[in-house]
Symmetry: D3
Subunit: 232 residues, 6 copies
Amino acid sequence: MRPVTIERGWSAQAEGSALISFGATRVLCTASFTPGVPRWLAGKGTGWVTAEYSMLPRSTNERMQRESVKGRIGGRTHEISRLIGRSLRAVIDTKALGENTIVIDCDVLQADGGTRTASITGAYVALAEAVAWARARGHIAQKARPLIDSVAAVSVGIVDGVPMSDLAYVEDSRAETDMNVVVTGAGDFVEVQGTAEGAPFARAELDALLDLALVSAAELAELQRAVLHEGE
Amino acid sequence: MRPVTIERGWSAQAEGSALISFGATRVLCTASFTPGVPRWLAGKGTGWVTAEYSMLPRSTNERMQRESVKGRIGGRTHEISRLIGRSLRAVIDTKALGENTIVIDCDVLQADGGTRTASITGAYVALAEAVAWARARGHIAQKARPLIDSVAAVSVGIVDGVPMSDLAYVEDSRAETDMNVVVTGAGDFVEVQGTAEGAPFARAELDALLDLALVSAAELAELQRAVLHEGE
Amino acid sequence: MRPVTIERGWSAQAEGSALISFGATRVLCTASFTPGVPRWLAGKGTGWVTAEYSMLPRSTNERMQRESVKGRIGGRTHEISRLIGRSLRAVIDTKALGENTIVIDCDVLQADGGTRTASITGAYVALAEAVAWARARGHIAQKARPLIDSVAAVSVGIVDGVPMSDLAYVEDSRAETDMNVVVTGAGDFVEVQGTAEGAPFARAELDALLDLALVSAAELAELQRAVLHEGE
Amino acid sequence: MRPVTIERGWSAQAEGSALISFGATRVLCTASFTPGVPRWLAGKGTGWVTAEYSMLPRSTNERMQRESVKGRIGGRTHEISRLIGRSLRAVIDTKALGENTIVIDCDVLQADGGTRTASITGAYVALAEAVAWARARGHIAQKARPLIDSVAAVSVGIVDGVPMSDLAYVEDSRAETDMNVVVTGAGDFVEVQGTAEGAPFARAELDALLDLALVSAAELAELQRAVLHEGE
Amino acid sequence: MRPVTIERGWSAQAEGSALISFGATRVLCTASFTPGVPRWLAGKGTGWVTAEYSMLPRSTNERMQRESVKGRIGGRTHEISRLIGRSLRAVIDTKALGENTIVIDCDVLQADGGTRTASITGAYVALAEAVAWARARGHIAQKARPLIDSVAAVSVGIVDGVPMSDLAYVEDSRAETDMNVVVTGAGDFVEVQGTAEGAPFARAELDALLDLALVSAAELAELQRAVLHEGE
Amino acid sequence: MRPVTIERGWSAQAEGSALISFGATRVLCTASFTPGVPRWLAGKGTGWVTAEYSMLPRSTNERMQRESVKGRIGGRTHEISRLIGRSLRAVIDTKALGENTIVIDCDVLQADGGTRTASITGAYVALAEAVAWARARGHIAQKARPLIDSVAAVSVGIVDGVPMSDLAYVEDSRAETDMNVVVTGAGDFVEVQGTAEGAPFARAELDALLDLALVSAAELAELQRAVLHEGE
């Protein structure tokens, strides 16, 4: 894995925030807490967590057109936003959250591969900050435990026949198989998304990638824990 | 698995077509062949295969608003269209296809769970028909073999602790884990997409689901083969 | 006229449905019944019937781009959707319907001319099914008669100087004058839309086309009646 | 008919223009001539005439939202724009026009019923001015006769059982049947669009309306002729 | 300054209206009064004034595409709409207006430079008419004075080194510096917007332009006063 | 003025970049250099500089909806993007730039007032870096001087009767008059935009604000110079 750093509290305004780096990849994750839920959830006693992902136009090597200028959000952006949201909801007890909403924004400032896994890993830290913020102000009951576990994500792939973790952009484009794995702190799977970039892959390769993903995810979970304890 | 039927040549106008049913789920798959490729591929000697997925507004139990009326395509539609396209490209040798384009349309006429896996499985049959059509008319060289293998997809999930294949809508909404697996005729993986709907899932559950998916995919590959041989 | 067939109850989910064929033209019509009316009608004691028309991208000889992908509905689609809605409302007593809404979807699966007239003719059958469904479940009073009459539509045109009914696509493109006529079961006009494709047309030609349209519409009304009595 | 006036040359910038009034209804029609044709027509030696219709937001009794603000053009606007375009093309010999394009804009400044028929009638005058402008500057050959005939439109309806021509808004909303008829200077039909607003209408009513429409259209053709001769 | 004329009451339907000409520039300004305010203002006891600006497609020398056809409003249109709204609100006491909304529409019928300043100057007259209309009907209290002052706007620029007021299009495109100044009847500034078209401008030039703007604005204020007294 | 810092070269990928802070306001400015110009400029021997401004959704105290999600860019965003572009073009000699394009992106990471003036001031640094980058690689001739001067912007306002420079958000919302002034290194004006937030302002107030703006802009120009010399 490339060096991973997480800078907490980067934003002075958001209820939770983290600037996460996986090598040269840098994602700003903010969590916005608001009392109340969208209309379709009102009165059910449960909260809501959702996420939006976006890349700055010059986060990449060649400038991309802004989706606001195009007037619509592309398929890839949609996919990743939904993935981040599902990953976070897997470790949230929405009953314990109460009728509150947390929106996570993951904005990629610089992209060098692995932006979706960095986003999930950083988003968890921002989410945890926002939950703490809300408990401190009484929006969430003192005894409630809305966070069931931590969650982190890692990309794994096979490059020149060798399973590797956290691929940078150049490696990623050479990978034969590319897999994004979302794992809880307890080591269970939340999402497994594997795609054959070149040739379809055999069961044995899949197994090797899953083994590697669990190891790397455990390291990320450890880092998240350390970073969140710092402030205490 | 629910009863699966594939009716070839449903459309009088498309170069390839199949009406596929997985139980009450019915998807019309058409393949449109056109000589030439999009501008960004021109002059490279390779072809292009892409797919679009859509649901009729009353294919579901409650009427959905049309995406054309909303003025934009939702995240789920985008995701599934991209998945179908990637799955088909995994079994296409684009060099052998030459500078030709095949667009697959998967329109869900009736939905009762498993529409994305039915779409992929039916799309392959429409694609194979279109390749045969193009070869018969000389758009593809007689000796070229653009289709490397067949491809089929199956959804698997754990319901009440039991791994099950091809879930209907009612079962699907009770599933604890939901996985879509795309497999070649040779039994290799093209895509593995697993999502924890309820609790995160352990490695052992994942293994059981993958085993089951390979068995079901082999049955679908056999059916595809039989259906495509009929016309010969 | 080309052979016309109407298959009732094609959809397992809609409250009313019909798959109608005019020669090679095939349109799936579904009727979705929901209690309540749009906000602008609420509290007036009257119901609402509206319609949406769309063509599958490969219903035509050359693939068309989806309107959902374009991000907007074209003028022709708008025009036909409005025409279907007006035609159905002409035979509906909205007071007798009560504060209920019926949305008709006409999706063209295969197009060979006359898709708008096939849509109207099939839509009436789906509408009648939905009304019967709603009465059976008590959403509409037993004595209420929301359907005042039946309605059917036919295209007529002059080809090589001869008035003809229900033109297939090839004939239609050769027609000098093209007219769509919507007629009630009682033989009165709901809509008359005539367009000079080539030279403007004289009063005598218009009269000949209207005569022919009334004859063909009566045949369609008879077929609708037969099909709707089958199930009783 | 209400008093009709046509003021030619209202715009200092357009190649042709007319401000037409039907009673309190006022429409500004401009014709924009440009050498060349859209790409899909290029090289065929024929020209192109098209039209766009729009209403100012406060042309009506209650302010309407702008379609530019809504971000999309409504069905009614589409329908009328297409109707105006078809009507004008019926009297244009596109071969004689050569590879030139004329775009007609009909902007309703004040609406009191009959805006679409006023638009067509005024658009013809603007079109004729633009053709004369282009001939004077050599864009169209001296001998070419791109205008085959004149064209005008009138709305007719049955109010309290009596056929009436050119209905103002208040009458129009009371009309049982509403018909827009587009007629050439020679008295032939270009379009006939009749809609039963209330009860479906019988053949005899249709005949009465068509008779009346021909009489009114002849008056409008006479006025167009007079206005266009003024400037000579 | 070019000859300026203001024709009051041009629209039979709007609560206030003015057709203003600055030379060949002609703008139709209408004011639409409605009781009530947008939801975000409700219950605060204050009213709302806003404005929308638009150009007819052939108001300019070359036809522009409609923003409704493009599906979005351009940056320039947005800017000018906002400027008009701010300018009018500067002379409105929203408390005295009560919970009422006035929407001003400025539609450019013909453009020859200075459309935004003509719009503001004409909009004030339409606004004043609408306020009078509302007071006459009791929507605004007899004693309330919602209009604090009048407001007018003028463009000034430096052409060939000479400060000039109210530039026509040809002069405007030759101007080295272009400034739009919005001034109250009392001679205070509401907006000052200066842009260096060519070389940046020195403080002395800015002062000369501001002096000129105040003189011209005073003339416009005098004209507005005269026009509004006419009807009394 | 609040403390201003400019961090050059923040982005590893852009040809020029600067992270600028005005107090708690932080804007990431990147410059993307590409050989070639938009089609409408091609073959004229001149280059093009343009800018886009955007705010991250949680750069503000309450989360804003993304413009990409809304599907359109708001008026304020349009206005500021255009202002930044005009300001930069005022100090660019497009002939000397040659047929090259530089796009500046200003993304607000944290907003506490003055984001548009911070954007312009930082954008100039990114632009200067990109010009240096292009000269070093031979895209711009060694002798060419595309940058005529530097440019910086400052907001000034009157709070409690006292003219103040670089207002933070809280002060800004209390300001009676708000003015954004764009000034070259030589001390000439590029843009002057003053708006009366509360009461219209007198000539004397305007003069005081302009005096203050020139002083503050000179300090910013000095800082820009220092920052750009650092790397040499």
